[in-house]
Subunit: 99 residues, 2 copies
């Protein structure tokens, strides 16, 4: 399993509406093939900066299967209008489990 | 609870030794007041780019209590020699739990 991280920027006055849109989009991730969880975190030091964190079976499950699905279109319809900058997306693989 | 994210950069040939150093440093986080977990993730798209993710009671537990402790000195002694760029640190608070 890997994690998608999407760095998302919204204008600070849109934060409440954006968070509501992400809440409404959650079922589209939950229904996606190979998706194991999602959450939205906000950057404490920078209002309007967020990290969407989504657990996927693989990079392909996100970048190919999901990106070509109706779920992705639904996500973008809900959240996309709030993006004040292009999302920056990368993927994380566990290196050290720590504790 | 909040999460510290430290964006860490090492030269690709140091990746294995760096991961070993982080493994050795884990007990210093585990022993820290207000620390609830840590893990190291690597950025799949960029070899040598890592995210250290640490769960803390609060930003203060990280930035004040831990940063002034012997545990922080131990962490930096182990991992610091591998840093190829200054770490970039920020903190995340949950905005939408998702699923």
């Amino acid at each position: 399993m890997i994690h998608e991280v999407a760095e998302l920027t919204v204008t600070p006055q849109d934060m409440r509406a954006f968070e509501q849109a992400v809440k409404e989009a959650a079922p589209h991730f939950q229904a996606a093939d190979g998706c194991h969880g999602m959450r939205l975190e906000k950057v404490i030091e920078q209002p309007g900066q967020y990290r969407l964190i989504v657990a996927w079976d693989s990079v392909e499950a996100h970048m190919m299967t999901f990106r070509e699905s109706a779920g992705f279109e639904a996500w973008r319809s809900l959240a996309g209008p709030f993006f004040a900058a292009p999302p920056k997306v990368y993927h994380l693989a566990l290196a050290v489990a720590g504790f």
